[in-house]
């Protein structure tokens, strides 16, 4: 695939973007009108047409990405997660506290709706190991565990003392997840326990983003309002293993590569997405400068190494290849 593919999420500002774990050419984008301040939300189910992409040439352009489905919601959508067990299902989290499960073979309405959270739900994440469960993290300071079949949440954790911005399952253990909060901490949890297993005082500012390293089960990455990204060995919460500096405003999302234990991508309010090599002496290896507003969502393709999708408040979704995402050799 050459160049950059773009899609215009007309009238909606992108908040999150996620590759399907089943279909190599499918991505979903959760978005909100009016920058999420007031108004509706829309879930976009997008198809990447690589043939059109090739025809579009290196300059890129429209036509490479098509909207296969759109779903409208009463309130802004802040995050989404594909089901790991049903290829056509996707769950969204919304500003009104609701969680909705969609089937992309059906039009118009969700197949499930849960309203338990009392505030904006900024995070939803599907369990990669126990594939019938997902978690949500909300501004109501709680984390909830859900199963698609259950009419209510199965578990609620309340320990953070500020909004929760992200909750992510460990790729190595179906019982372990991590959470990032405005209380400046990241916490590690075991679903079998009511209290968190450990607390990392990660930044001296709100922690907005978090992800697990896919190759080292003890490593997490955090992103913060303090502009920095930090890597941590969760066994040693007292000190980060590395600080990655370069973003000029708050870091809104971080993702660890599915292809390398050293590669991290990040999206920021400085309107860029950046690629990092956490093992290199100069860790910042790429600045993706394709947006003209805040970049809030980023994800990496599992199927094509180096393919990255982003969404931003400029109503643009981009799919591009970033350099230097190959395996490191030492």
């Amino acid at each position: 695939m050459a160049g950059v593919l773009r899609f215009h999420t007309a009238g909606y500002n992108g908040y999150a973007i996620e590759y399907s774990p089943f279909f190599e050419n499918r991505i979903a984008c959760a978005s909100a009108a009016n920058f999420g301040i007031v108004g509706n939300g829309r879930l976009w189910c997008l198809g990447i047409n690589t043939a059109a992409a090739a025809a579009a040439g290196p300059a890129g352009g429209g036509g490479g990405i098509t909207a296969d489905r759109v779903y409208d919601t009463q309130d802004g959508l802040y995050d989404c997660a594909w089901s790991e067990e049903h290829e056509n299902q996707i769950v969204t989290s919304s500003g009104d506290g609701s969680i909705k499960l969609w089937d992309v073979t059906l039009s118009d309405f969700p197949i499930r709706n849960w309203s338990e959270h009392t505030r904006e739900v900024f995070s939803v994440n599907w369990n990669l190991v126990n594939k019938d469960a997902f978690i949500t993290g909300s501004w109501d300071q709680t984390i909830k565990l859900w199963k698609p079949e259950a009419p209510q949440s199965l578990m609620t954790w309340q320990e953070h003392t500020h909004c929760i911005y992200q909750t992510v399952w460990s790729p190595a253990s179906g019982e372990t997840f991590a959470s990032a909060s405005g209380d400046q901490t990241a916490k590690i949890w075991d679903v079998r326990q009511r209290a968190s297993a450990s607390t990392i005082h990660a930044h001296n500012a709100e922690v907005l983003a978090l992800d697990w390293n896919k190759y080292n089960p003890n490593v997490i990455v955090t992103g913060s309002v303090d502009h920095s990204i930090k890597t941590w060995d969760v066994r040693f919460p007292s000190r980060e293993t590395r600080v990655l500096l370069g973003h000029e405003y708050a870091v809104r999302r971080v993702k660890c590569s599915p292809h390398s234990g050293d590669v991290v991508v990040s999206a920021s309010y400085d309107m860029t997405m950046r690629v990092w090599d956490t093992a290199a002496a100069s860790p910042m290896v790429h600045v993706h400068d394709l947006h003209s507003e805040f970049v809030l969502g980023v994800d990496m393709s599992m199927f094509f190494e180096g393919q990255v999708a982003t969404c931003a408040w400029d109503e643009q979704v981009t799919v591009s290849h970033v350099p230097a995402l190959g395996h490191k050799k030492r």
């Binding site: 500002n13 920058f35 301040i37 007031v38 108004g39 009463q74 309130d75 802004g76 802040y78 067990e85 290829e87 609701s98 089937d103 073979t105 059906l106 039009s107 118009d108 969700p110 499930r112 709706n113 309203s115 126990n130 469960a133 565990l145 199963k147 079949e149 209510q152 578990m155 609620t156 954790w157 309340q158 320990e159 500020h162 911005y165 019982e175 590690i188 679903v191 326990q193 009511r194 209290a195 297993a197 450990s198 500012a205 309002v225 303090d226 040693f236 919460p237 007292s238 000190r239 600080v243 370069g246 000029e248 400085d270 290199a280 002496a281 100069s282 910042m284 003209s292 507003e293 030492r330």
Partner: protein, 742 residues
């Protein structure tokens, strides 16, 4: 502002700041629910085929009932009973999550332990609740009886509310009892106020029956106003203004042409307003808004917001309490922690406080940046590449209260090249200046005692020695090695840096330094040390033809030097130090099998080097050979039983093998070695005065924080002993005695 409060990093509590957004959401909520309730079900009937095709179908209504009934209570009671305290769904959850090889029995144990925990917490909180009730009953007019006499629907409401609160309290066992008690008190005052109000039943029903939205709309129509009051509109405008100020200094052209920031400008200038779920452009924007505000403020209808109106009805009641109950009634939710009125109120108060906080935080950040910049500058200067850093540090050094300048300098700072900064470096004073133990009894001795009995004593004696002779490189080196042994890499790095500053030719210091730096993830500094070892070892200096740059092949370059050094030796006169250096390098690059070979080769030359045994063990553990790792650690401990680091590492291997109790015991062993050493030292100095608690506290430098932290993690996360985790916070070893062998 949900959208950007995190951008400005106000640090404000999330219950404030976005009151408007929240307000909007509350208004939308009911409709949204309806849509979902009726829409999808109707649709699903027609398309169940599609659902079946996609795999496991979503359960139909009947199935859901079945699903619920199978779990226990009938459907009628499930809404009430299935709170977060209900373990049944979790049981099923656990069932599926447990690995298949785990037998039922294990599972049963696991579950029963799990079940025990919340019950304990229940017992814990029942204390204060009880006392609250009796206190409350004694209080006088607002007695429980009176409360019970209240109309039925209210009583139910109250009970439900109380139940929720109780659940919440149980929900987080870590919560201080004071907090629980405070909640109970809040509850009490709310209940009392409620009971006092003239006709609670009518009041409650008024609110529960009211179509809240239509009520709001009515209000809106009546007043001919947007649903947002003056204060809210102002708050939104101020928040937008705050955000604009925060990015004003940005020289990024994208920020100047940003539509979002343009939108913020409109909000700030009140050219657009939020009405219901929409944005509405204002006619004759700012002027109209302000004149409206004036009119509204001065007009006869001086109940500026319905909230005040509402409060006036219940003026005796604290706002918080009323808002709470109202919000519950309104949303029909049973969760009690949401507090609309408070939020609304906060919304009006927010901007000032918020701005202050934000400003303070920015100033802090600025200071931090300055500090970091200085460090960075030093670092940079050391590398002899000063010019480009100059401008940046100067910009950051200028102190200014002015927002624009502040951001401008921040911007300049951010624009500088970060590749050298903090990347794999052990920066900061604690790595540079060795922190001495205060009240060191040996400081008074004119010369070292004849025999040193333990590690703590050794460290204190050496500390005294280097304080008397700060240029004694050998003493600094010894101190660094002892701190390594004591599981204190920070102290070791500081001491070893003193050693190499005094005598760069003391090459053992460089290798030791490389080891500690690697442990602290200061990779670049570790490379520097390894390179310095080669350059300062007369034998190998010729191999270091040119110094390396900070490029990514630096690792390869230095590894090549060490391999060349290894090749200079014959089979019989192998240099163990070269092997250790290579071992460190392969640890950095995570080539653990190669590192194992190197350390084993070195051990063949120095079989009694217990620290080398420990290095081998750590490498084996990293390579996930936990059994072999433990053997190596035991070797080290056999040679030196008070070797704290090996004991600590042993516990890490136990954690990896999920032997948490053993892990705790090894950690406790390490701590008790340290503690008894300290006590011995204090005994020694007792002649000079009584042993005080403060004396013990002053010995923190010879105690290892890492060990306590790890013990806390094991106690809290794995052994589920919050009491012991708290003991760790207090560094109370005695709390573990009797229960653990150490």
């Amino acid at each position: 502002m949900s959208a950007f409060k995190d951008l400005v990093g106000s640090g404000a509590d999330c219950s404030g700041g976005n009151s408007l957004n929240q307000f909007t959401k509350q208004l939308q909520q009911d409709r949204s629910l309806q849509q979902d309730r009726f829409g999808p079900l109707a649709d699903r009937e027609g398309s169940s085929g599609a659902l079946l095709r996609s795999g496991r179908p979503i359960l139909e209504n009947d199935d859901i009932e079945e699903f619920l009934q199978a779990g226990g209570p009938g459907p009628s009671s499930r809404q009430q009973q299935r709170g977060m305290f209900d373990m049944r769904p979790m049981t099923r959850e656990l069932d599926t999550m447990l690995p298949p090889m785990m037998g039922d029995q294990t599972w049963g144990n696991e579950f029963s332990r799990f079940e025990d925990a919340p019950q304990n917490h229940h017992r814990q909180i029942s204390g204060p609740s009880q006392s609250w009730i009796s206190e409350f009953a004694e209080a006088g007019p607002e007695s429980l009886k009176e409360l019970q006499g209240s109309p039925q629907n209210w009583a139910n409401e109250f009970q439900a509310h109380q139940r929720v609160n109780e659940q919440q309290i149980i929900g987080h066992p870590n919560m201080e009892l004071e907090d629980a008690f405070k909640r109970a008190q809040d509850q009490a005052s709310w209940a009392a106020e409620f009971a006092k109000s003239s006709d609670p039943a009518a009041w409650a029903s008024e609110f529960s029956n009211a179509e809240a939205e239509s009520w709001i709309n009515e209000f809106k129509e009546q007043e001919g106003l947007s649903v947002f009051g003056k204060d809210s509109q102002e708050a939104l405008s101020q928040t937008a203004g705050m955000l604009l100020e925060a990015v004003a200094g940005s020289t990024n052209p994208k920020f100047q042409s940003s539509k979002f920031l343009g939108f913020m400008q409109q909000l700030r200038d009140q050219e657009v307003a939020i009405e219901g779920n929409k944005l509405v452009e204002q006619i004759g924007p700012a002027e109209a808004a302000s004149s409206w505000a004036k009119e509204f403020g001065a007009g006869p209808v001086n109940k500026t917001s319905w909230e005040e109106d509402f409060n006036a009805q219940n003026s005796e009641a604290p706002r918080e309490a009323n808002g709470n109950s109202w919000s519950e009634e309104f949303s029909g939710q049973t969760r009690g922690d949401q507090n609309w009125a408070q939020e609304f109120q906060n919304g009006a108060q927010m901007p000032d406080r918020d701005w202050n906080q934000q400003f303070q935080q920015q100033q802090q950040q600025q200071q931090q940046q300055q500090a970091r910049n200085m460090e960075w500058n030093q670092e940079f200067a050391r590398n002899g590449m000063q010019q480009s850093s100059q401008a940046a540090s100067e910009a950051a050094m200028e102190t200014s209260d002015d927002m624009d300048d502040l951001y401008k300098s921040a911007w300049d700072y951010e624009n500088t090249d970060f590749s050298e900064f903090s990347a794999g470096r052990a920066l900061g004073a604690r790595y540079e200046q060795y922190e001495f133990t205060s009240n060191n009894p040996y400081l008074a001795h004119s010369r070292p005692p004849a025999g040193v009995r333990n590690l703590t004593e050794a460290i204190l004696v050496l500390e005294a020695q280097v304080q008397h002779e700060p240029d004694n490189a050998k003493a600094w080196y010894e101190l660094g090695i002892r701190q390594q042994e004591n599981e204190n890499d920070v102290g070791a790095i500081a001491a070893l840096r003193h050693a190499v500053r005094q005598d760069p030719g003391l090459v053992d210091s460089w290798i030791a330094l490389a080891v500690s730096l690697t442990n602290e993830s200061a990779r670049e500094d570790a490379y520097d040390a390894l390179e310095a070892w080669i350059m300062n070892s007369g034998k190998y200096a010729s191999l270091a033809a040119e110094p390396t740059s900070a490029s990514s092949d630096r690792h390869q370059h230095i590894t090549n030097m060490y391999i060349a050094a290894a090749r200079m030796a014959t089979e019989s006169d192998m240099d163990a130090d070269v092997q250790v250096g290579l071992g460190v390098l392969f640890n950095i690059s995570e080539e653990y099998n190669k590192a194992i070979d190197c350390f084993e080769a070195a051990l063949s030359m120095r079989p009694q080097d217990y620290m080398l045994w420990n290095k081998l063990g750590a490498t084996l553990a990293n390579a996930r050979y936990s059994d072999r790792a433990m053997e190596a650690y035991f070797q080290a401990l056999e040679i030196n039983p008070s070797y704290v680091r090996a004991r600590y590492n042993l516990s890490i291997s136990c954690i990896q093998m999920q032997q948490y109790r053993e892990a705790a015991e090894h950690l406790l062993g390490a701590l008790s070695v340290q503690m008894s050493n300290i006590n011995a030292v204090l005994e020694e100095s007792k002649g000079k005065g009584p042993v005080e608690e403060s004396d013990l506290a002053s010995m923190h430098n010879v105690q290892s924080g890492t060990v306590w932290e790890t013990l806390k993690m094991v106690a809290d996360g794995h052994l589920r002993r919050h009491d012991l985790a708290e003991a760790c916070e207090k560094r109370d070893l005695d709390a573990f005695r009797g229960e653990f062998d150490f």
